[in-house]
């Protein structure tokens, strides 16, 4: 009797490189990878901001969720941003920004889609365009200390 060993192919997912904006396929559990197009380090990690968090910038190809008691002071470049707390800084989202009824964003926002619940506080310049192509990341954003 021949026992066939079934090879389990590792689950993968597709993300967009935060530097060159091209799609890359990565293992589902990866936290950071090297982009095979631009060869730069791409952080994939999803972040939850539960308290006060102040850094120069956050760049991830994953999601960032600022929870009710969270305050994020940073320039943010993410795939998806959800704000239930408050964000101070400029936001570039490759996909979606959602602001809850108690959420607040103070800074400029560029994204493809924006969802705002009544009660949210927004102050800044907004560019919401389903065909939005984010500007290339500045050289400083290539630094490895993107998530502090």
């Amino acid at each position: 009797m021949v026992v066939e060993q079934q090879r389990q192919t590792p689950a993968t997912r597709e993300v967009v490189c935060t530097h060159c904006e091209r799609k890359i396929e990565i293992p589902a559990t990866a936290m950071s990878v090297s982009c095979r197009h631009c060869h730069r380090r791409v952080i994939i990690e999803d972040l939850e901001i539960k308290t006060y968090h102040a850094v120069l910038r956050i760049a991830t190809a994953g999601k960032v969720e600022v929870q009710k008691k969270g305050t994020l002071v940073a320039d943010v470049r993410v795939n998806e941003l959800t704000v239930e707390g408050s964000v101070k800084g400029n936001v570039i989202a490759l996909d979606r920004v959602a602001v809850g009824k108690k959420g607040a964003i103070e800074g400029n926002v560029s994204c493809r889609t924006l969802a705002v619940e009544p009660g949210a506080k927004l102050n800044g310049h907004y560019r919401v365009d389903p065909a939005f192509v984010p500007p290339p990341a500045t050289p400083r954003e290539h630094a490895d200390d993107e998530i502090a």
Binding site: V109, T113, A115, V116, P118, G119, A120, L122, N123, V128
Partner: protein
Amino acid sequence: MIDKTAAGTPVEFPTVIGADAVFKGELHFEKGVRVDGKIEGKVSTKGHIAVSQGGHLQADVDAGSIIVEGDVKGNLVAGDRVELRKSARLKGDITASKLLVAEGAAFVGHCSIGPDAQKAPAPPPTNRIAEALPRK
């Protein structure tokens, strides 16, 4: 056709600007207006203004609440809320207590949203270099 707010509250429009109508100038409405056609200039009302999917508004708007499904170029000031629905295209600034944006809406402009948004208008742009220089 717009007949409800996003919250489901029915809205009535005593005035409807028809699809083949073009108005230029300053318009004031007591209760509310739905724009299926085109308005250029300035529009004000205490009630609702709705811009339907085929409607064009090239005007500064001051209203109780504003619902946009069509194209708007101009600044929007609403006492209560601004709703941008999925087919909305807006170029201009928004000042309102509440903002509702449906996914798919396109919007470029400054946004000042919150209960204090109308009390404290955005400060005019300042010359930072002049501010940094020592005063004589």
